[in-house]
């Protein structure tokens, strides 16, 4: 553990900026999201769950796959400096690890280069993540359902705790150790500082909600695939994409061409399984034409299919979708309802 006095935080951020494009939570007009910072003053150090998730750093809402024109096809230059992120929460770090399961390669064929997404890999592969402990979890936090927690360090390079007057930094990966190892603005942490961290951690843990038993979730959900409960649950959903766009693990996308004359670019843009045209074929046939089918797809994808394909849930319990849903279709309630569906005795089996 190292201690970084807040008086030297700006120096630290500037040092980081020499080697990395540094992203951190920034507040603009009341909204928070991750943006490139070059000084500590730009960073919103208080925000817990940013409005926009950090997936936008690694998988932007729209990005150019390549440009085309009379001279053929060209991909954009990859920026030299790798990405560092300061102030990313435990749940969000885990969400990036999950996305890496999708984009990094194909689980079925991990060695096959064809399934490695170059755009994701060049950003995420060389990134340095400074995760922040959550001192003050919010009532919409439920990361503990998925094996996370306010002090979970999975996927981080350096774990950081805001201890009031200073930050405590703990290297988690070799890459993290390498970066902070020799920094002059850091000092080794002492006993009292470590005790403080334990106290903060205990307090944060006490704020977490009761855990939901998700051990059998994948199977339970598959079992009720054809039950009417999906229609009941989806009745109030208006099929907007707010939940999927704010979700740190939703990654569905569309590919479109944008031309001006003979020049143009092929772009990848966020898409959503909530939209009917997402799956509609040119013939007009749509395998997920009904709202019920789309809501079911979102839930099954996150809590059942992902288990089969990646061995983990595609949800970290960050609570963003709970906050943004315009009809308050709270995913925690949805899950509880579904997982206890059989227990309620509404269907036989």
């Amino acid at each position: 553990m190292y201690r970084l006095d807040k008086g030297r935080f700006d120096e630290f951020i500037r040092l980081l900026g020499r080697e990395y494009r540094t992203y951190a939570p920034v507040r603009t007009a009341g909204r928070t999201g991750f943006a490139i910072v070059d000084s500590a003053g730009m960073i919103d150090t208080d925000v817990l769950v940013t409005d926009m998730s950090p997936k936008e750093i690694f998988f932007p809402p729209s990005e150019t796959l390549f440009r085309y024109g009379r001279n053929g096809i060209k991909t954009d230059e990859v920026p030299e400096r790798p990405i560092a992120v300061w102030g990313i929460r435990s749940c969000d770090v885990r969400s990036l690890s999950m996305l890496d399961r999708v984009f990094g390669s194909a689980v079925q064929m991990p060695e096959d280069d064809r399934f490695k997404d170059p755009y994701w890999n060049h950003r995420y592969g060389s990134s340095l993540l400074f995760g922040s402990a959550c001192i003050d979890p919010s009532p919409t936090c439920f990361c503990n359902w998925f094996g996370g927690g306010p002090f979970n360090k999975d996927g981080m390079d350096v774990f950081t705790v805001d201890a009031g007057e200073y930050y405590l930094l703990e290297p988690v990966s070799g890459k993290g150790q390498e970066f902070i190892g020799g920094l002059a603005c850091l000092a080794p942490a002492g006993e009292s500082e470590l005790d403080l961290v334990s106290a903060i951690a205990a307090e944060a843990a006490s704020r977490m909600p009761e855990e939901e038993d998700l051990k059998e979730a994948g199977r339970k959900l598959s079992d009720i695939f054809d039950e009417p409960v999906w229609s009941e649950l989806s009745a109030k959903c208006v099929n907007c994409g707010a939940c999927t766009f704010c979700c740190p693990t939703c990654h569905c996308f569309d590919i479109q061409d944008e031309s001006q004359g003979s020049e143009g670019r092929r772009v990848r843009i966020w898409d959503s399984c909530m939209f009917p045209i997402f799956t509609r074929e040119a013939s007009g046939h749509n395998p997920r034409a009904l709202s019920k089918e789309r809501v079911r797809q979102r839930i099954m994808h996150k809590y059942s299919y992902s288990l089969e394909n990646y061995g983990e849930f595609l949800c970290t319990g960050c609570g963003r979708c709970v906050l943004v849903c315009p009809v308050n279709l709270d995913i925690r309630d949805v899950l509880r309802r579904l997982l206890h569906y059989r227990a309620e005795g509404k269907c036989n089996g």
Binding site: Q260, E263, G264, R265
Partner: protein, 139 residues
């Protein structure tokens, strides 16, 4: 480099304004060569989307012209269009698109002279504004 010339898209109705443009042509009435014409069946066919899309694609101005009130080939197309334009214009002004970039007129099949005057006026208005920058999409 030669002096900047405004590029104007003229969306003309088939029955009056397009014929008016035609008359200006066959009568050899001079008007600035800055317009590109798109012919539509009726000014009522003009979706504000066409106008915004033209500006986005880099046209410096858009002129929409139809039959005079009462003369619409489809009886009321231009009346409906008029309501649409009546709210489009203040809305564009409100969001900061220079009002002179989007103009409307009524030109009949017999008004070749008037067509030339209108085009000249639009080109001059847009020339004063300079190249369009605000809603133009960059590649």
């Amino acid at each position: 480099m030669s002096e900047w010339q405004p590029r104007i898209l003229a969306i003309l109705c088939n029955w009056c304004s397009y014929a008016g443009a035609d008359l200006a042509g066959v009568s050899r009435i001079q008007y600035p060569p800055n317009i590109r014409v798109v012919r539509v069946p009726c000014s009522g066919r003009v979706d504000p989307l066409f106008i915004l899309k033209s500006l986005q694609a880099g046209f410096d101005g858009v002129l929409v012209s139809g039959c005079h009130p009462g003369d619409c080939h489809y009886i009321s197309g231009n009346y409906v269009a008029r309501r649409r334009f009546a709210i489009l214009k203040p809305l564009l002004e409100f969001v900061g698109i220079e009002p002179d970039r989007v103009q409307f007129s009524w030109i009949s099949a017999g008004e070749g002279e008037r067509f030339a005057t209108v085009v000249t006026k639009v080109v001059e208005d847009v020339r004063k504004l300079g190249p369009s920058k605000r809603i133009v999409k960059k590649a």
